[in-house]
Structures are given as C-alpha cells and as structure tokens.
Amino acid sequence: MDDSLRGAAAIVGIGELKPERTRPGRDAMSLLAEAAYLAIQDSGLTKADIDGMIVDPELAVGSGGGYAARMAEYMGIYPTWATGCDAQGAAGVAMALQAAAYVNAGLARYVLCGMGAAIDPAMRRRPPAGGRTETATTEFQAPFGPTVAANGWYAMIAKRYEALYGATVEKRAKVSVDFRYNANHNPMAIFHDTPITADDVVNSRIVADPLHLLECVMPCAGGCAFVVARADVAQSMPHKPAYILGGGLGILRGNLTHVGEITVSPVGRGAKKAFSMAGYGPPDVQVMEIYDSFTITVMCELEESGFCRKGEAADWIQAHDLTFEGDKPMNTHGGQLSYGQASTAGGCAQVTEAVRQIRRDGGEHQVPGPTDLVYVTGSGGAFSQQSAMLLGSEATL
C-alpha cells in the first residue's frame, strides 16, 4: 500500500520472568538470557535461527561497550545483525518497531529483542572506578537532592498537573486500584496476593508530594524478551502472530527541567504516527497497555494519545472500568504498578502482555471481550522519550 511498516512484521514469540523483589546472584545478562531462551522456544525456533538481536544498554553499564556482541556470545547466539536500543522505558515498544524495520529490510529473519534487570546490589555492574559518571545535566541536579529513582521528577509533574487541572490523589488512586485488581488475577504479578482499595492508596505514605507510595512502581529484578519476524514468515509459525500495525516515538528531552511544558507527555507524536500508520483511531482500541511508572504517567499518556482531552484524564478514569473485565481494559497483567517493574523489562512486559491478549492466552486475566487491537506505550526518563504502537490480530490487517 505504501512504504510504511503496517502489518509487515509480527511478534512471534514471548518470554518473561516473574518480577521479584530481588534475585540473589543473578545479573542482568543472565536474567535477559533466561527470558530470551523462553521467547525463542515459544517461537518454535532454535538459537541458530536467531540472526538478529536488539538489546538494552543496561547491560553496558561498566562494560566499556560492545554489549550486544557480548550478550550474543553469553547466550551462544551468533547473529548477523545486533544492536542496542537506548530508549529506557520506551525500549520494549521501540525494539519491536526497530525489529520490524530490520526484518523487512532483509538485515535479519528472526530478531530477538529483550532486556534484563538485576536488583541484587552485588550483581549490578558498576561504572569503571574513577570514571566520570555525571552528565552535563546531572551536575545541576544531584547537588540539590537527587530524587529516589524518578519519584521526584514525576512528583513535580503531578504537582503542576494538580495546579493546572486539579486532579488530586483521590482521583489518581483509581489507576492503582484497577491495575491491582488485574494483578490479583495474574499469578506472574508481584502483588498477585494483595488487593488494595482507594483508601489504601490515599493513606499510603507520601514519597514525594503529591505522590503516595501506592502510586509509584517498585523496582524489581526480572527479564523480558520477544522475537519478531516478517509477516509472511510469521504466518507459518506456531502461535497466532501479533502484527505490528503502526508505531512511533516522541523524543522531547534528556531530562525534565529545561524543555517544554512538563505535564505534556511526549507520547503524542508517537501515537499520531502509530494511529495514522495503522489506519485506526483511539475509539477502535480494544485493550490498552499504558506505561505506568506512576499514576500521573498514565493520565498524561491517555491525554496525549487522544483518548481524552488535556486535563480530563482524571474524569475519564473515573468514568471507565480499567480492569480486564471492564469497558476499557488497561494494563491487564497488573501494570508495572502491580505486576512489577524490572527496570526497562517492565515496559517490555507490556508488549508481551499485549501479545498474550491477542493470542487469547491471558488465562485468568484474559479480557472477555474482543482483543484484536491493542495499544501499547512506553516511557523513558522523566517524560523524556515515549513510544506508541498498535498490535493486532490477523483480523485487523
């Protein structure tokens, strides 16, 4: 039809590790390898079939470079094309789009994508001793009190959002509560056994005003991977393919402070591209996997993606049931808030969950209604770079 990637590639295999608070003795390479082995086997392929690879620079920390090649060697896979994808939390979606381009350009037939995250301090790679670790921007952040993970940055987004649009924790809480309900139906979720109420969210301690503890992701160890093949190749593979219908990234800033209105999340540009490439619009979407580092992240992404107008996300969320049984099924595996966030693998697990819903393999948390068209987002840094993608079943082609 045109030169776009619409329906030109599909995700044909998925693998992920249950997020855990820690996995003692496991480093990022070993966790990625285990997830990758699951994804390759799920595809019905052998290691020798994998001729393309895209991995996450988390593996590069302290390594001096060459991490894609070292990851390949570590697993005993010898591809003809291997690169990184430096998109932070946006990488799950970004890797899928990059892989779709690779397989259609003839650079590889089966591209393995994935990331692993260690949490055992003893197993985290350290920057080289004496090396300069600060960037030009952290030099102007750290002296004033670096924030715990991203909490402080997102707190400043939420604070400004409250000032502009008036949505406080009482309204944001529903995001956490609905996702937790989904997690309570997913044995892979780290909070599978713990239901929460809106009162629990509102009464949880404030980490960075106005964000409460139950509005923030918990860092986990884990790994996630998937395999992408060209659409015609995918048709003869074991699983029902999840076709990549469209996607894009919005890249706005390296850090939150200096550029643009901070309550505007950069996913909008990626979403526009995703919807126009796919030929669908927000009302057509049947399932959403929206990157949820914090409650406020979800709200801003919904607005910029076109599901509601700016400033109306809180009301939109109150008006809809976001559980897997609801009218707007969202983060059906529990979201990163309740499934767990194994660093960048957290965003990757939203891609694999989308595939699971399209395959109708969700088990206890399978959406009962149609799941042919799924919208997935990723988010890196503090509203720095965000990604959007539409995945669909054969019926959506």
Binding site: G145, P146, M156, D209, I262
Partner: protein, 142 residues
C-alpha cells in the same frame, strides 16, 4: 579551624564548559548562557547553541541573571535519595524559571513548606557549602 562535620552531599563535577557557572556562583552571581548569534537563552551550560534555527558553535556567552523568577513546579521530598540528605527530609526540590526564561533545578529554602505554590515569586540565595562550591537556592520573594 572549625569542627563542623564534612559536607556529605553530592557536589558538582564541573567540566571545562560548566566551570564558569560554578566560578560565578562562588562570587554569588547567577549566570546563564546567551547566544550572540540568535539570542537563545541556554541552561545547562554547553558549547553549541540549541536555538531552533541556529547552528552556532562557540557562540554562547555568559551573562548575569537577575536571580529572580517563579516556581514552575516543586515537590516536597520525604525520602532521602542520598544519605547526605537524610537529616534534611522533608526538603523541597523545585524547578525555578528565571525571569530571563530559563529553568533550573534547585531547592526552595527558608520558608514554611505550606507557603510555597506554583507561580510564587522567588529570588536566589547562596549556600556556600564548601570552599570550592556555592549552590544557588531560592527563597520566596518578600
């Protein structure tokens, strides 16, 4: 000699490009960069101009800020991210927009946290944390 405990919070690690900012801060002058080619105001320090139509290299010049601006956003941090801040919680981390139109991260100090709001006028105050480094912080303008 003083018996004050050593300063245990992160300090800047200036580069050749950013050193003039910290040199000025030690003299209690808040400075930023402005492009002599296109006029773009720039912060954090760099040596190429990010102006939308500008390809200036080496065109950024240091100029003095009034040190006055407003609270663009802020958070009250209840959890120290670095052991050096353990005794300071809750403390206020903010993005301040200076009147010249550039933003920086800082702390809002010398006030009741309840009196801070987005849009509030602020002015720079200087915290001489070590002999080498002085940090620009902000307080509500009187």
């Amino acid at each position: 000699m003083t018996s004050e405990p050593a300063y245990n919070k992160p300090l800047p690690t200036p580069s050749a490009v950013s050193q003039p900012f910290w040199d000025a801060a030690r003299e209690h002058r808040l400075v930023y960069q402005r492009c002599r080619s296109c006029g773009t105001r720039v912060f954090y320090p760099r040596d190429v101009c990010p102006g939308p139509e500008c390809f200036g290299v080496g065109t950024l010049e240091w100029v003095d800020s009034t040190g006055k601006g407003w609270v663009y956003s802020y958070t009250i941090s209840y959890q120290p991210a670095h052991p050096g801040f353990a005794d300071d919680v809750p403390y206020v981390l903010a993005i301040v927009e200076l009147d010249e139109g550039w933003r920086m991260n800082t702390n809002i100090v010398n006030c009741d946290h309840d009196s801070i709001e987005i849009g509030a006028r602020v002015e720079v105050v200087w915290d001489d944390v070590t002999p080498e480094f002085t940090l620009p912080k902000f307080q509500l303008a009187g």
